[in-house]
């Protein structure tokens, strides 16, 4: 047993360790820098007043200012939100510079910056699926609260990764934003007039447009009926089209900002669904796959 265990430990230590850097919340590092400064009494007192004031406001708005638990929770949120504000400011990554930044602007202002970052993040789409509920003020407030609690909860005595989480989440949502605006543009240019539907499955819209473009230079298709897809499949099977020419024609019509999104999709489809459309697979099977994995809710199933 013991041997087995030590062997395992050896194996583990030989393994490449993931590169993980841990750091305390930025506010804590800045306060430590303050402790090292001479003549820090006045600055410390001002910060203390500001931080406790912010904590009470956070408790009133998000937790409970009437219990010790609520105040502690608000304190953690305050530490994290100020740390986020510091981490995203355009200043050198060193404790002293960050402290100067904090003292110069004041804790309230830095908190506000952090909170605005949360709000901006929350305004970006969480998925590439837009629904009319996204505009509901109640839902928007709830989303802000959820993100605030998820990213800004920092315990001063342990490490904090909220800034990393923020960066990752921001990148992901910006990516979703690109996909959504590309899909919205395609809907506007739909051959039968702009598609008006509060719900939008952006991936599906793009999938439909890219798939219809294989047939050659034609109008933009952002929404399709099952019958249209069947016609398309039968058509391209009868006379194999020049796929790249069709896609180039689509790209020419679309503003260049959306090209990366479309190209990514074209590369993905070339050897998967497009190959299937051109093969001898039964039309029903292909349609089912299109419906389940590509066109989704942007495809109208009913014949008329």
């Amino acid at each position: 047993m013991r041997n087995q265990y030590s062997q395992q430990v050896n194996e583990n230590s030989a393994m490449q360790l993931a590169h993980i850097t841990t750091h305390p919340p930025h506010l804590v590092s800045a306060l430590e820098a303050l402790a090292r400064r001479a003549d820090n009494q006045e600055a410390a007192q001002t910060l203390l007043d500001e931080l406790s004031g912010i904590t009470v406001l956070v408790a009133k708005k998000f937790t409970n200012e009437r219990t010790a638990d609520g105040l502690l929770d608000a304190f953690h949120l305050t530490v994290g939100c100020i740390s986020l504000g510091i981490s995203q400011a355009n200043i050198p990554q060193d404790d002293d510079a960050q402290l100067s930044f904090l003292l110069h602007h004041g804790a309230e202002y830095v908190f506000q910056m952090g909170f605005r970052q949360i709000k901006e993040l929350s305004a970006l789409p969480f998925t590439a699926f837009v629904s009319e509920f996204d505009n509901d003020p109640f839902v928007q407030q709830r989303d802000i609260k959820v993100l605030f609690a998820e990213i800004c909860r920092a315990d001063p005595i342990s490490s904090w990764t909220g800034d990393e989480v923020y960066k990752r989440e921001l990148q992901e949502r910006q990516n979703n934003q690109k996909i959504v605006s590309c899909a919205k543009w395609l809907r506007q240019k739909h051959y039968a007039g702009p598609v008006k539907d509060p719900d939008l499955d952006a991936h599906a819209v793009i999938a439909i447009a890219v798939i219809f473009a294989i047939a050659g230079d034609g109008p933009i298709v952002a929404r399709a009926r099952q019958k249209d897809l069947e016609t398309l499949i039968q058509g391209v099977r009868k006379s194999p089209p020049d796929i790249d020419a069709g896609w180039d024609a689509l790209l020419k019509k679309v503003p260049s900002t959306y090209h990366p999104v479309l190209r990514e999709r074209m590369n993905e489809y070339r050897n998967t669904i497009v190959e299937k459309i051109l093969s001898n697979t039964g039309i029903k099977t292909v349609i089912t796959e299109l419906q389940n994995s590509y066109a989704g809710s942007e495809m109208e199933v009913d014949y008329d």
Partner: protein, 280 residues
């Protein structure tokens, strides 16, 4: 005079309009405050009654909301049990919860030492009077919820329940085993049991908070709740028991939670405060 039935719709309106606008009725608020601070609660009550006659009950709710919590506490503490006040029926749950923090303000340490029963009795009369002042179940639930969403409110209820620790333990077991709605009768029907049941039935989080306040060492599933025996059981402090805090201990805890004046008034900084704008 107000009628108990009226309060329910007043509250539903009140809930919809949000907290009353602070700018309403500032003169009446000032007048009531001055009368209360001058020790003339009867006249203050008269002013409140006049307000109700003239502007309606909603105006009273607004006035009570703008009173400083310590003033509201002083006024309410003059009306318990026997005397019924319009304020007792109309104060908003949140304002009441805030005022509860000041209930123990006048308790000296000697008084806590010498006559804990008197203090407990007055606290019970107050809480019971407010919570059961109307037949409105929704209002009762809100009052309990708001009071027990504060640390001091939780302690205040624990004080009351500590006068019947054994019954509370019995009830806690019952609630745990059979659910709050099928529990109810204990072997002795102590005065605080209806209040405890009201909590257990309507707000299980609040019920847990009070139990933890009474039995700070309680680890559900790990140890048993236990009342302190009369002989004093310091030698038999077993790990398997979570001993109850005594009424005396809880009274002291409640007294300590009375908010004091801020020790240092925040200096006028170089920067004006952003206030709520930090969320803008």
């Amino acid at each position: 005079m107000s009628h108990p039935d009226r309060t329910s719709w007043i509250y539903s309106i009140h809930a919809r309009t949000g907290m009353a606008d602070n700018s309403n009725f500032p003169a009446i608020s000032r007048q009531v405050t001055e009368l209360v601070l001058a020790g003339s609660t009867a006249h203050a009550e008269e002013a409140i009654n006049d307000t109700a006659e003239q502007f309606g009950d909603l105006a009273v709710v607004a006035v009570l909301n703008t009173l400083e919590p310590q003033v509201a506490a002083m006024h309410l503490s003059a009306f318990d049990g026997g005397k019924l006040s319009l304020a007792t029926m109309l104060i908003s749950p949140k304002a009441w919860a805030g005022s509860l923090a000041f209930f123990a303000a006048t308790w000296g340490e000697d008084k806590i030492e010498d006559e804990p029963e008197v203090l407990t009795e007055s606290l019970f009369a107050h809480i019971h009077g407010i919570v059961f002042s109307t037949d409105d179940a929704e209002r009762r639930t809100k009052l309990i919820h708001e009071a027990l969403a504060t640390d001091w409110g939780t302690t205040a209820f624990a004080v009351l329940f500590s006068t019947a620790t054994r019954e509370i333990i019995e009830l806690a077991h019952d609630v745990h085993a059979r659910g709050a709605h099928s529990s109810g009768s204990t072997t002795s029907d102590h005065d605080v049991i209806p209040l405890a049941l009201e909590i257990a039935r309507n707000d299980s989080d609040a019920w847990d908070r009070v139990l933890f306040e009474m039995f700070p060492d309680w680890q559900p599933g790990e140890n048993q709740l236990k009342a302190r025996s009369e002989e004093g059981d310091d030698d038999e402090r077993h790990h398997e028991y979570a001993l109850a805090r005594t009424t005396h201990e809880l009274l002291l805890r409640l007294r300590k939670q009375v908010p004091g004046k801020a020790s240092s008034t925040p200096k006028k900084g170089i920067r004006p405060s952003l206030g709520e704008d930090i969320f803008a």
